[in-house]
């Protein structure tokens, strides 16, 4: 489903991280480990199509990134890739529910309000749907971000340190949610973290940034 070959990722023509080969089957998860500054975020951004690879190939569900112009890449990403940014980036002018619908609106997909409400209820924040995101706690915002990344039924969910700001209990809860949501839409989870608490949830782990 996800195929990476001879990938050199970086920006401004500078290679920051190299991944010679990585294959994920449908629904197979992968943890990317590495110290801060090792290029985890750069690699994830490249996988998300936010950053063009310096060299090498990425193929998701049979679509090679190299074959897509930036607008086509945006559209492809909108429909097939869910992203949870390290900084959550909530739109403060919109309500929590509208933040979810924003993902569908931006992707040009039909807006499914009942689904958005259902997602929020599953995440235990159904009563917050008409609130502005800044009134929510960090853990609650994290859940909104998860809902937003999964609402379009992506093939792959990319998360950049989704648990590092959370306490142990929240960390467990968020990981469980992520795994459940991924399983629901049969998506692959690709999580970058240096959070040791997450490790036990993943069979496949790669470490980047030279010697650990």
């Amino acid at each position: 489903m996800l195929e990476i070959r001879h990938l050199k990722a970086g920006y401004d023509d500078k290679v920051i991280v190299e991944v010679p080969q990585l294959t994920l089957a449908t629904g197979e998860h992968c943890l990317i480990l590495g110290a801060s500054g090792s290029g985890k975020t750069t690699l994830l951004s490249t996988l998300a199509g936010l950053l063009a690879p310096v060299a090498g190939e990425i193929e998701l569900d049979g679509h090679a990134y190299s074959g897509m112009q930036s607008a086509a890449m945006d559209e492809f990403r909108g429909r097939h890739i869910g992203i949870i940014f390290q900084t959550l980036h909530m739109v403060s002018a919109l309500t929590v529910e509208q933040n979810l619908l924003l993902a569908q609106y931006a992707a040009g997909l039909p807006q499914d309000r009942p689904r958005a409400v259902r997602l929020l209820e599953q995440l235990g924040i159904g009563d917050k749907k008409d609130d502005k995101p800044e009134t929510l706690s960090q853990g609650q915002q994290q859940r909104v971000a998860i809902a937003r990344a999964t609402i379009n039924g992506p093939k792959i969910i990319i998360g950049d340190e989704p648990t590092s700001a959370l306490d142990d209990a929240s960390c467990e809860a968020v990981m469980e949610l992520l795994l459940r949501f991924a399983a629901d839409s049969n998506a692959s989870l690709v999580i970058a973290t240096h959070d040791q608490r997450v490790k036990r949830h993943f069979h496949k782990q790669i470490t980047i940034g030279g010697a650990p």
């Binding site: 920006y11 951004s45 936010l50 945006d74 390290q86 900084t87 002018a93 924003l102 992707a107």
Partner: protein, 412 residues
């Protein structure tokens, strides 16, 4: 959710600056609307009242004052002219028609004008059914508005009071009888009470010679017998219509240099007046456009700043798959909403304002305006305002295309 609801959400999110921008924008539009409406209606009022009057002859003094007092019935007259000298003009070959006017009294603030039926005829005034023009002294015909305000009907009587504004000494001993009422003409005639010249002379002769009442009675229908009363009969002014366009060249000079009277051209004086006012309205128009431009900058600055604050939101939307065109439309929609609310609010405000001014002016009985008039020129305000909205949003909207999602959202 669509670009409209999104724009609305953003506008509400920064409601203070949105309201300020809309207020400035709408104030500019309202100001231009008021100027357009007032200008059009004043011009119309002028041209209606000027209809076919080529020259006004009256006492020496300010020509503007002469025109204002005799054509528009606004100012006080410049002074009287001798009847005989004035009537001599009537036989001049270049003159088609003269209409004599004698002012001096008012009825509830409406001027009583001594004249001939040629005067209302000049304004194409028609009598309401059942009415007639004055046949003898102390008979009067009321303009439409005078009749409406006073409620007088043919057969009723009223007394004039001395002077041109309400509150003068009442001529209660000399009541007028209403013999006719005029249909509305949209000209100054609506606000006048018309009577024969003789009535005016009659009242004022008696006014000056209180004891001669009975003895004088028989003489009033005769012209030229004023000498008997120790003073000449006089007119306030004469409205002149030319026979030939050549008259405009020679006649005013002839009158001004060879008689004790003054000739003034209404067209010229009105042009002078509008030129005075024109400077004012022009300045106001510039100011109004300045306000609109300022509002345009307000939208621009608002959107441009918002673009900085919203860089993350826009990049986020791009990361969710929104094409730049969609975001461009979003920003444009926001600006269009502001412009549209402003221009419609401004137009409504402008019309209300003119209506308020009109109500206030109605009390002074001089100038008639309404806020219910809609002009074609006003329609231009809509595309122009939207155009300003588009211009203001253009630069911020174009910046959307250059957002680097990675650098904005990830590497900071």
């Amino acid at each position: 959710m669509n670009s409209l609801t999104m724009s609305y959400a953003y506008l509400r999110h920064k409601s203070l600056s949105t309201v300020l921008t809309i207020l400035t924008f709408a104030a500019g539009v309202a100001m231009i609307t008021v100027l357009l409406l007032a200008n059009a209606q004043l011009q119309n009022e002028f041209s209606n009242n000027l209809k076919g009057i080529d020259l006004v002859v009256g006492g020496k003094g300010s020509p503007m004052q002469l025109i204002l007092s005799s054509v528009f019935h606004l100012d006080v007259p410049t002074g009287n002219i001798p009847l005989e000298e004035a009537m001599k003009l009537g036989s001049h070959p270049m003159i088609k028609e003269v209409v004599p006017l004698a002012l001096g009294d008012n009825f509830q603030g409406f001027r009583i004008v001594g004249t001939t039926p040629a005067y209302p005829a000049h304004y194409q005034a028609r009598l309401k059914p059942g009415g007639r023009y004055w046949g003898k002294e102390m008979e009067a015909v009321l303009g439409a508005e005078v009749a409406a305000k006073s409620g007088l009907k043919p057969g009723d009587t009223f007394a004039g009071s001395h002077g041109l504004t309400a509150g003068g000494e009442l001529h209660s001993g000399f009541p007028y009888t209403v013999v006719g009422i005029l249909e509305p003409t949209d000209s100054v005639v609506d606000r006048l009470a018309l009577t024969g010249l003789e009535s005016i002379w009659h009242i004022h002769e008696h006014h000056h010679h209180d004891d001669g009442e009975d003895a004088d009675e028989d003489d009033h229908d005769h012209h030229g017998d004023a000498e008997e009363h120790g003073h000449m009969r006089e007119l306030t002014s004469l409205l002149v219509t030319y026979n030939s366009p050549l008259a405009a060249v020679s006649l005013p000079r002839l009158i001004n240099s060879t008689t004790s009277m003054q000739a003034a051209s209404p067209a010229f004086e009105v042009a002078r007046l509008t030129a005075f006012m024109g400077t004012g309205t022009e300045t106001l128009t510039y100011f109004a456009w300045f306000l609109i431009a300022l509002a345009g900058f307000g939208i621009f600055a608002g959107l441009y700043n918002a673009m900085n604050e919203r860089r993350y939101d826009l990049a986020l939307m791009r990361s969710f798959g929104a094409r730049p065109g969609k975001l461009f439309a979003l920003i444009m929609a926001e600006s269009m909403i502001v412009s549209l609310i402003s221009v419609s609010g401004g137009l409504i405000m402008g019309h209300l304002l003119v209506e308020v001014i009109a109500r206030w002016l109605a009390g002074t009985k001089h100038i008639h305006m309404t806020g219910k008039l809609f002009l074609v020129q006003e329609c231009w305000l809509i595309p122009v305002s939207l155009g300003i909205g588009v211009l203001a949003a253009l630069l911020p909207a174009i910046r959307v295309y250059r957002i680097d999602i990675f650098k904005t959202l990830v590497r900071r």
